[in-house]
């Protein structure tokens, strides 16, 4: 509990910054939306654009002149922002002990590595949860100005829950990389690299039906807001893959971190 509180305090500034970024993103997003809102001419302009581009920007699945449709398009960017925060926090929470050489202090206290790991993980998960809540609240508040359809709130909630799963995956990716990689100084950049890699795979997967199978390789495709809107829930296969991924990554984290040399 002490370690958890300590880690939360250490992460507080970052959480505040990210909350600010997300709120700003929502505000700017809705400001742009005012140009689309109830404006069929914009749709005509979209029709003139090449389909591959629309699909890359995930503009195809939604009716952009409604708040729900607009949020559906925005969801991909929510996903990216929340995932970046998650992977940064996950990797940094562990790697910084070695990078800043505080491991020699923290791990000579009478605490097992397992307990330390659990407390750090809990702190990061809590932060991810709060950030998700901030995004959810800011969206619903921002939508108020546009007479939202009754279906909007449940759709936003479902999407944010799906994004919580995505955050869980990337927290696990980050912390696992920190446990496994030999160079603490490079861990965070490696984690961001993995994230951007999977993000580009998700963009490519949507471009061409021949590489459709790529969608299984990237968590960003597991939480497709278009699918959520049409089907009302995520396909079970993605939920299972996500759960399996999280469990595997965390198991690898605990097994490795408890047995490896610290880099001092």
């Amino acid at each position: 509990m002490r370690i958890l509180m300590h880690e939360l305090r250490r992460n507080a500034k970052s959480l505040l910054t990210w909350s600010g970024i997300l709120m700003l993103f929502v505000v700017v997003g809705f400001a742009k939306f005012s140009a689309w809102y109830g404006n069929p001419e914009m749709l005509a302009m979209l029709d003139a654009m090449p389909p591959a581009m629309l699909s890359a920007l995930s503009l195809r699945a939604f009716n952009l002149t409604t708040v729900t449709g607009f949020f559906g398009v925005m969801a991909a960017y929510y996903a990216l922002l929340l995932a970046i925060a998650a992977v940064l926090w996950g990797s940094d929470v562990l790697a910084r002990e070695e990078r800043e050489r505080t491991a020699e202090f923290t791990l000579t206290l009478p605490v097992t590595r397992g307990r330390l790991l659990t407390a750090k993980l809990a702190a990061v998960v809590l932060c991810a949860l709060v950030l998700n809540g901030v995004a959810w609240g800011a969206t619903l508040l921002g939508a108020r100005g546009y007479a939202p359809e009754p279906a909007l709130a449940p759709f936003v909630t479902r999407t944010m829950l799906a994004l919580l799963m995505l955050q869980g995956i990337f927290v696990s990716v980050g912390i696992c990389l920190a446990a496994v990689l030999p160079r603490p100084r490079r861990t965070v950049s490696a984690a961001v690299g993995v994230l951007l890699g999977t993000y580009f795979v998700s963009v490519i997967a949507g471009l061409d039906a021949r590489v459709d199978w790529l969608k299984y390789l990237t968590p960003f495709r597991y939480v497709d807001a278009g699918v959520l809107l049409r089907q009302g829930a995520l396909p079970p296969v993605y939920r299972w893959i996500s759960a399996a991924l999280i469990v595997t990554l965390l198991a690898a984290t605990y097994l490795t971190y408890q047995r490896r040399d610290l880099h001092l």
């Binding site: 002490r2 300590h6 250490r10 800043e100 050489r101 505080t102 491991a103 020699e104 202090f105 791990l107 000579t108 206290l109 009478p110 605490v111 097992t112 307990r115 047995r259 490896r260 040399d261 610290l262 001092l264």
Partner: protein, 290 residues
């Protein structure tokens, strides 16, 4: 009872040598010196004892229990002062020390206050604003605030001014009198001699000697440089003198034995300058094994 028992402990970092087949034990209540040049494997040994890293082979026990399997529990009774002290940025000294203290079952508040006063710590400063020496002082308080039964010091005096070094040595002596066992790693022979009852000498990862301090002191070499124009160097060639050299800037020699014999002899010579210093550890090693 042995507080620390190390058996055939070996550590490789990939291909690189850490320590090789190290075996020794530290008795309860003693101050055990662990000396060797940089890179000999002193910190590696300490980190293995604290299970910060894991051995390639061999084992170590502390208070009779395996230091890996029972690491966290054992650390309730271990105080550790690393050679370089790093703390969480942005934290105040007082908050940091109270945070550390909160992990021990014992109530450490009283001792924390005493030690902070002794070390003249300003508890309201931020740790990242502190100088190297002041961070070290925080490290000393943090390592001792829970009145540990085993104190592990890794080159503890680096960064401390001479006055603070003395305070620190007094403190360690008191802790030892209270019953704490002390494992003292250093590359400075003289400070080990001041405190320790036994000394292990480690070089290139191997234990090359383990001696009672009195034996080592008897073998204590001094390096002497004197400027004595017109004096025949042969007059200094007495028992205990080795490596006598006459140069343009005077005479240098190494001496082992009763220092009075030599100072008596020097007093009878027309000497214009004189320096007597301890041999560096490397020089001791070289003499030790001639």
């Amino acid at each position: 009872m042995n507080v620390i028992q190390v058996e055939h402990l070996t550590k490789f970092y990939g291909q690189a040598r850490g320590i090789l087949d190290l075996s020794f034990d530290v008795h309860e209540g003693e101050v055990f010196g662990f000396i060797g040049p940089n890179g000999a494997g002193k910190s590696t040994t300490i980190r293995l004892l604290l299970s910060l890293i894991y051995p390639t082979s061999g084992s170590a026990t502390i208070f009779g229990r395996d230091c890996i399997a029972h690491g966290a529990e054992l650390r309730q009774d271990i105080g550790y002062l690393p050679s370089e002290v790093f703390y969480y940025e942005g934290m105040r000294v007082g908050d940091l020390l109270h945070y550390a203290a909160s992990f021990y079952r014992r109530d450490c508040r009283q001792r924390l206050r005493e030690l902070s006063e002794l070390m003249e710590l300003d508890l309201s400063r931020r740790v990242d604003d502190l100088s190297y020496g002041n961070r070290k002082k925080v490290g000393i308080v943090q390592g001792l605030l829970h009145s540990p039964r085993l104190i592990i010091l890794d080159e503890p005096t680096a960064g401390l001014d001479p006055l603070m070094q003395r305070t620190f040595f007094d403190l360690i002596r008191q802790e030892n009198q209270r019953g704490a066992t002390v494992f003292f790693s250093s590359h400075i022979l003289s400070e080990v001699q001041r405190l320790c009852s036994r000394v292990a000498i480690i070089k290139e990862g191997r234990l090359i000697d383990l001696q009672d301090i009195r034996t080592l002191q008897r073998d204590n070499y001094k390096k002497i440089h004197l400027v004595a124009p017109g004096v025949d160097p042969e007059r200094l060639q007495v028992e205990g003198v080795t490596g006598l050299q006459a140069g343009a800037d005077g005479l240098t020699l190494n001496f082992r034995g009763d220092i009075n014999r030599l100072t008596g002899l020097i007093a009878s010579l027309p000497v214009s300058d004189l320096t007597i210093e301890d041999l560096s550890l490397e020089e001791i090693f070289m003499h030790y094994y001639q």
